[in-house]
Symmetry: C2
């Protein structure tokens, strides 16, 4: 039997985690089944998609030959390869330049500073001397970061209180490129998702507020509980940044609201965990708008469909509980939107998310939390 699959796919997605899984679904809705470049048959998106290509992201060149447009669910990519593919005429969206700005935090800080965006004081740490130099101008604690995000289970950020602690981090991570940043007194962590077409047409979603714990995003709330002035400033900043970078697709701009104002914390050049709530909470999800943008199709509306939208991530614990075994209890939480990724449970691993919508933040949050507790086999709180 001959295959019904096309010779050239309109869209290829590099990576096959939950971001790719949901992007895949959004494309299928539009009648555009994408091809996936997956690393493992157990990858979340590979389980739910037809005939993925299996290979390391470095095998991108041959994959790109089979797709009209290539997009990405992560930034752990060979930038030289991406640049060469772009130069040879492949539609790589977003392009290598944007991916580098998301991937290489030192480079990102330099670009942002040059363009006039507020960033924390920072310095590259090539050795102990750089740390001492930086500490002479900044107050303790100091933030040490890996310049490039490492493998999924690698730690990428340390908050050090003393020079001794800092030197230990340097010694233990001598093979990684590190940087220092001044510690920010954070009032709130915000995320603005911008979606932008190649020609510059762009929209942004309502500002969301994220609540982290142990460096993992636990909860996202939209719209963020901030005043209209800060909200407007955050959106304008994110749209300007997307323009400056010539981003294509979703650009997630993570901002810190500090006593000094809005500071750019991180960038992600792809659909983002903070945007999962757009599936039920916006007329067009971040995934569909990402697909539209990278294919240079008109963008859909991005407003909030309710006064309060909350997403709680379902994160694997040490108990080894599998949320799939508790689906019935979670679905019994009337009105909670349950998403599971078919991933094997591991401590700290994102296994799914729950979104709840309501007129009131506490009510939505409570509903999402009850479903999440059920999925993890905990008593409702």
């Amino acid at each position: 039997m001959t295959s019904g699959l096309p010779a050239i796919y309109p869209l290829g997605i590099v990576g096959a985690g939950q971001i790719a899984r949901m992007t895949h679904q959004a494309a299928v809705k539009l009648g555009i089944t994408p091809r996936l470049l997956a690393e493992d048959v157990d990858d979340s998106a590979a389980l739910a998609a037809p005939s993925p290509t299996y290979g390391h992201p470095d095998s991108l060149a041959s994959f790109a030959e089979s797709c009209e447009v290539v997009t990405f669910e992560h930034e752990r990519l060979d930038l030289g390869l991406l640049t060469r593919l772009e130069q040879s005429g492949h539609k790589i969206r977003p392009g290598a330049r944007v991916i580098r700005a998301a991937f290489d935090k030192l480079h990102q800080r330099r670009i942002l500073q040059n363009k006039g965006f507020l960033v924390p004081a920072f310095a590259e740490l090539r050795g102990p001397d750089d740390l001492f130099d930086f500490a002479s101008t900044a107050d303790w604690p100091i933030v040490i970061k890996s310049v490039r995000t490492g493998a999924l289970d690698e730690r990428n950020i340390w908050i050090v209180e003393t020079a001794a602690e800092g030197l230990r981090v340097l010694a233990e991570n001598s093979r990684r490129q590190l940087m220092a940043e001044s510690y920010q007194a954070i009032i709130k962590e915000l995320v603005v998702l911008v979606v932008r077409r190649p020609g510059g047409n762009a929209r942004c979603y309502p500002v969301a507020e994220v609540v982290q714990s142990d460096g993992v995003c636990q909860e996202v709330r939209a719209p963020a509980a901030i005043g209209p002035r800060v909200a407007t400033e955050a959106k304008e900043l994110a749209l300007r940044l997307a323009d400056e970078l010539e981003a294509v697709g979703v650009l997630a701009v993570e901002l810190l609201l500090t006593t000094d104002g809005l500071v750019v914390n991180e960038l992600a050049a792809r659909p983002h965990n903070a945007g999962h709530l757009t599936i039920e909470g916006a007329p067009t999800s971040q995934f569909e708008n990402h697909v539209r943008a990278v294919l240079d199709l008109p963008l859909g509306p991005t407003w909030a469909l309710a006064p309060a939208i909350v997403t709680v991530n379902v994160i694997g614990g040490y108990e080894g509980v599998d949320p799939a075994n508790h689906l019935a209890d979670a679905l019994a939480v009337e009105g909670a939107h349950i998403h599971l990724y078919e991933k094997r449970p591991r401590p700290g691993r994102k296994l799914g998310h729950v979104t709840a919508i309501g007129d009131d933040l506490d009510q939505a949050r409570d509903m999402a939390r009850r479903a999440e507790a059920a999925l993890l086999g905990r008593r409702p709180w």
Copy 2:
């Protein structure tokens, strides 16, 4: 490389058209990738799903061995085989009894009449004498129907004005089992979708109104423009019918609102075209609730999310226009929700649908119609 696919799938879906495609997506959201039994590699759902099994629905027995629960996107099935599978312990949902009531219209009429539901006067037509007998008690025109829905492109219903016309239909369809029904003076055609779990727990969606043309559903509007008394009666009737039949999953009850009251017109024991608007128009889509019901999981809320929700089907015309080539124009209709099924265009074939949501029926309808016109390469009207 070993496959990441499970040995036993929690859910199997027989059929791979657009109903299966959307049911598949709803299951994937819950972390349950189903297996499909497809007939062709070009089938809408087969294009978007991993590793479908290919085979005729009669090869259901071996397919059922690989699934914990089997459900269906159509009723063109071997009922004897379904019954044997049920008797040997397979979870066939809905069961053979419900599928027969949807599939065999004569049997359906008899059950409904026995249970006290209002149906049009009807009779089996084994030959001309039966037609003359029926005509002696009913007024012309008379409706002649095929007892079993035939292949997708076969005509299944004729409205005949005279005995001569009726005899011609009988002669031209001598190989098919036919029945006669009294013609109904229809005020509106309504659909109530009930979703029911094996234990009897059931919910129904708001009553929808369908607009047919050439025997094909063109447009669906919810909630239907009917008074609260009729709406309540329609929902109670549908819920009672689902209980009487012990339906599992979605049961679509097509009703005719006539001057005599509500008459049952057709049943479908699966997600239904009139329920596509539940994807954006309800907290839980008919597809997700079908998956929940057949897996005996708690049902989600079914209320309408807006005062006016309209779905317009995108139906292939004689021009051979492919909606996929006009996606950009359709997506430019701000707020329209576009769904394409990746099907090859053919006259009369459902290629996709557009849903629009609003405060007002005319506004939602206009938006959906503009996007549909764009998809078919027509000027907006």
